[in-house]
């Protein structure tokens, strides 16, 4: 039985192959092996949401998925979504409304917000809060984050 395995996956559109330890979780893999440090390690037990990334189109906790489980998958991180401008509107609204302070939660927050935008573009303020309920922010009080997402979804200002 192997403690390290060869994996091939597509990260932000680029195919990558690595040999990884079975125990390495996906966010450590992205950060340590690929240098994609935008996804953050906050709690490593699935509560804070700072490591939220997208695997095959669905957001996941990067600390609750092993890198080997991403073999053959398409993984998107904040860096990829920034470069493709997929989260450009959200980033603009977050910037204009100061929906971040230290910025440590922000990549995960944007991944969750983008997921909501794709899945439920008509979400109410309450539904926005519910969709972000697994993403911890100690700095802002959440209001500006909710405001920014509401603006992007509904064009409110």
């Amino acid at each position: 039985m192997e403690h390290a395995l060869d994996i091939t996956l597509t990260v932000n559109g680029t195919p990558v192959s690595r040999r990884v330890e079975a125990r390495q979780h996906l966010v450590d893999f992205l950060r340590e092996e690929l240098g994609l440090t935008g996804s953050h390690v906050g709690c490593e037990h699935g509560v804070c949401g700072a490591c939220t990334v997208r695997v095959d189109g669905e957001i996941v906790r990067g600390c609750l998925m092993l890198a080997v489980q991403a073999n053959g998958c398409k993984v998107d991180t904040i860096e990829g979504l920034s470069d493709s401008k997929e989260v450009g509107e959200l980033q603009r609204a977050f910037h204009e409304r100061n929906s971040l302070q230290c910025g440590f939660c922000t990549p995960g927050m944007l991944m969750a917000a983008r997921d909501l935008q794709l899945k439920n573009p008509a979400a109410s303020r309450e539904q926005i809060r519910a969709h972000l309920s697994g993403n911890y922010c100690r700095c802002t009080g959440y209001q500006a984050i909710v405001d920014a997402i509401e603006e992007v979804l509904h064009g409110k200002s």
Partner: protein
């Protein structure tokens, strides 16, 4: 954009203050939005080694034996060290300050030697090629312990039956008594005396980014570069230098992006000192990032207090006196260098703060226990002082059957009474309690909320409205730490440089933790010089680059750092105009800078773009007069000295609904009116307030570090230690009164801690207001459903 005139609050000042007062977005937020920040853990270094610590599983135990044999053989391990080995390179410290008379604490080592005094204290360090390998080896360390009696309860500690540090004689770290005299007489003649005991749960900061340090020792140069998630780079430079025996000039501390701090990252942590020592010992870069479990065990905790307070008042509702007895437990060491006596000291200084009574007595005991250390966390002492004061004030109003807003109106210090000396001895320059109260009551539509509350009670819906007025320490002078002997700077500096391209570079000793410091410095610099914000670049958090200064704590960044930037900006403007005057052969007094160009002051006619002036200054100075040397880099410093602290004031209100069947509290809305002087960026200030309120709500309803009778932290993870998240925090309405401080040109006071200071008291009062018709009260934070049900008599 026009330019900021000086002082901003002078009569007749141009209304147009440039960017000051504008809600402009922070330029430095863009990299964070793309995940392209530079947090310590994002840095990549060759030969980087990783440390993991073997920590005490016991609250109090003697280390009989540590066996590293198996750990040393584990894959990837570079070396394993105990406390004695690290002590060869790092001297111990003692967390006391001379002006906290009688405070005592034993020497503390980077790695504990012989004895561990709390569960989680590091007793050995494993350095390996990866963090994973270091953790593997930690599991292989074999230790023999002799468990010692653990002192966990505050009263037990005070009794001194079992003394944690026998050489200190007792468990009392610090005590203070304050008495204006006449307190007993005031109570004797009072129509009403109310008394209550409040308890405040121990809680912690839970920064999303764990404490992080990457120390890089260069043996050839005997230099140490420390990449550190810290609020106070210069303080840490001094500490590393002093305790590692490296000349201060050879130590550079760099704090780029910091993932939240809230006071957690302004202290000296043994494991961080050990990491720096290990880099020296191993002559290679070494990194330590506290994981979440370590964070709960070792990030400072705060606010474990039990306080009995009495209030005396007349039947007309005039407060005559407060009498206070505070007992607080701080863990086994007073934290270096700020000490763990400050929080209790603040409670003594601030209790009763908004009110005009003249008689005040306070007693404080700060005791050692075998739990994790406590120290200054956002709003330090204020949440306790405010909740105590506002809780007992509400109880008095309730007894007098007086509306709590009216009761406050009768007792708040009048807005024209300043300068004012408060009975605790602290001095207020100028506060605006009555303006704030009026604004708050209007903003929340107090009268109609009271009516709605009464209507709903008829339908068994229990809503409560809670008010909390407060004062807050900001812009501290050297009286806070410097006078006590701590090498903590109360002054800050800013260097501004006009670049050849017409850009302005700002370098300031105040740091950025996300509150927007760099953004407001850009606003101030742009406004002072007369350039657009896109022409300003701000650098903070590097002792090798910025002027010397204190960093970020005690709500001082905007008021002190901002003033330094403003003064430097005006000096740079003057120096630029000197050059322009020579180049254009015009009187300096006729010139100004507007919109990145030299202009005629009167007509605003554009004379020369700044980039042309920059080109001439740097590349063709030969055309300038021989007796003239351009100086387009200027540095200015600022220290508040006239008052020990520049007090701010504010008032908050909370609207809650209590489910009396479940004990659950639903926060419906929260209001905050704050007077922080000149508001530089309302958008940033509002979100600072909201974030602060959210932390205060955490304290009021959710957060507490729970320990077992043996001293084991029971909820040291994010699933069990409950921080509020987006589903729990209500919308928060903010408004401002602006009473600028006359001590500075900018007039800004601090605002970073106000939300946290006032929210717990406001929420507590709202809950008790909701419970009042049922004859129930709660006084122990956090107000969990169980505590509310117990107060209601729904459970035994």
């Amino acid at each position: 954009m026009g330019k900021a005139e000086l002082p901003l609050h002078a009569p007749g000042t141009r209304v147009d203050k440039g960017y000051i007062g504008q809600s402009v977005p922070r330029p430095n937020a863009k990299r964070l939005l793309q995940g392209r920040g530079a947090f310590v853990d994002d840095l990549r270094f060759p030969r980087l080694a990783h440390v993991a610590f073997f920590r005490s599983p016991h609250a109090h135990a003697r280390i009989k034996r540590l066996d590293f044999g198996n750990a040393l053989k584990s894959a990837g391990v570079i070396d394993v060290f105990d406390g004695r080995a690290v002590a060869e390179y790092c001297t111990p410290w003692v967390g006391v300050l001379a002006h906290l008379k009688g405070i005592k604490s034993p020497p503390q080592h980077a790695i504990a030697i012989e004895r561990a005094c709390w569960q989680g204290e590091a007793v050995a360090a494993v350095v390996a090629e990866s963090r994973t390998q270091a953790e593997d080896a930690v599991d292989l360390i074999d230790a023999d312990w002799e468990e010692l009696p653990a002192v966990l309860d505050m009263d037990e500690a005070l009794s001194g039956r079992c003394v944690i540090h026998p050489e200190l004689g007792d468990n009392i770290c610090f005590k203070r008594e304050h008495d204006t005299g006449g307190v007993d007489e005031a109570f004797a003649k009072a129509d009403l005396v109310v008394e209550e005991t409040y308890r405040f749960g121990r809680h912690t900061g839970v920064c999303l980014e764990g404490r992080s340090i990457l120390a890089d020792y260069n043996a050839a140069e005997h230099t140490l570069t420390v990449h550190h998630s810290t609020q106070a780079p210069h303080m840490m430079q001094d500490v590393f230098s002093r305790h590692l025996g490296i000349p201060e000039a050879n130590v550079r501390v760099i704090a780029r992006d910091v993932g939240g701090s809230f006071g957690i990252k302004v202290h000296v942590y043994p494991d961080e000192m050990a990491t720096a020592a290990l880099s020296v010992m191993l002559r290679r870069p070494v990194k330590f990032v506290a994981d979440r479990l370590e964070s709960f065990l070792t990030d400072i905790h705060a606010r474990e207090h039990k306080v009995t307070i009495r209030l005396a008042c007349s039947k007309d509702g005039e407060i005559l006196a407060f009498d206070l007895d505070d007992l607080s437990a701080i863990g086994p060491y007073s934290v270096y260098p700020r000490t763990s006596g400050i929080e209790g000291n603040q409670v003594v200084n601030l209790t009763g703060g908004p009110y005009k009574h003249q008689k005040y007595r306070a007693k404080l005991n700060v005791v050692f226990t075998n739990k994790n250390v406590t120290c200054q966390y956002r709003a330090v002492g204020h949440p306790i002082a405010v909740a105590l004061t506002e809780g007992i004030v509400d109880l008095a109003a309730q007894n007098l059957k007086m509306d709590p807003a009216e009761f406050r109106r009768r007792n708040l210090i009048p807005d024209d009474a300043y300068p004012y000396t408060f009975p605790s001895g602290v001095k207020f320059e100028k506060l605006s309690h009555h303006q704030c109260l009026d604004q708050l009551l209007g903003l929340m539509n107090y009268a109609s909320l009271r009516k709605e509350q009464a209507d709903l009670r008829g339908r068994n819906i229990f809503r409560g409205i809670g008010l909390a007025a407060m004062i807050e320490v900001t812009n501290p002078s050297p009286a806070f730490y410097g006078v006590g002997g701590a090498r903590i700077s109360a002054q800050d500096g800013a260097t501004l440089r006009l670049e050849p391209t017409g850009m302005v570079t700002v370098m300031c000793s105040v740091t950025e933790q996300g509150q927007g410091t760099e953004g407001i410095f850009a606003q101030i610099a742009a406004s002072a010089v007369g350039v657009s914000m896109d022409k300003v670049r701000v650098i903070t958090g590097d002792t090798g680059v910025t002027p010397y200064g204190g960093g970020t704590w005690a709500s001082r960044g905007a008021g002190i750092g901002g003033e330094a930037v403003l003064l430097a900006g005006r000096a740079l403007l003057s120096n630029i105009l000197d050059v322009a005057s020579k180049v254009l052969n015009l009187e300096k007094e006729t010139l100004d800078i507007e919109n990145n160009a030299i202009v005629d002051k009167l007509t605003q006619e554009k004379k020369m773009p700044l980039e042309e002036l920059g080109r001439i200054t740097y590349f063709r100075p030969d055309i300038l007069p021989l007796d003239f040397q351009a100086e387009l880099t200027v540095t200015r410093h600022y220290t508040p000295r006239e008052y020990a602290f520049t007090f701010t004031n504010g008032i908050q209100a909370s609207l809650v609904e209590v489910d009396t069947d479940t004990g659950f509290v639903k926060l419906l809305k929260h209001w905050c009116v704050e007077d922080s002087g000149t508001v530089i960026n309302p958008m940033l200030v509002d979100e600072q307030l909201r974030g602060g309120v959210a932390e205060g709500i955490g304290a009021a309803l959710y957060e507490e570090c729970l320990y077992s009778p043996e001293g084991q932290l029971l909820n040291g993870n994010m699933a069990d230690y409950v921080v509020p998240m987006s589903g729990e925090i209500p919308d928060i309405v903010c408004a401002h009164i602006e009473t600028p401080t006359r001590q500075s040109q900018l007039g800004a006071k601090g605002v970073g801690e106000a939300g946290t200071a006032g929210a717990p008291g406001a929420v507590m009062n709202a809950i008790n207001d909701a419970l009042a018709p049922l004859g129930a009260r709660v006084t122990a934070m956090p107000f969990t459903p169980e505590r509310i049900l117990r107060a209601l008599g729904r459970i035994a």
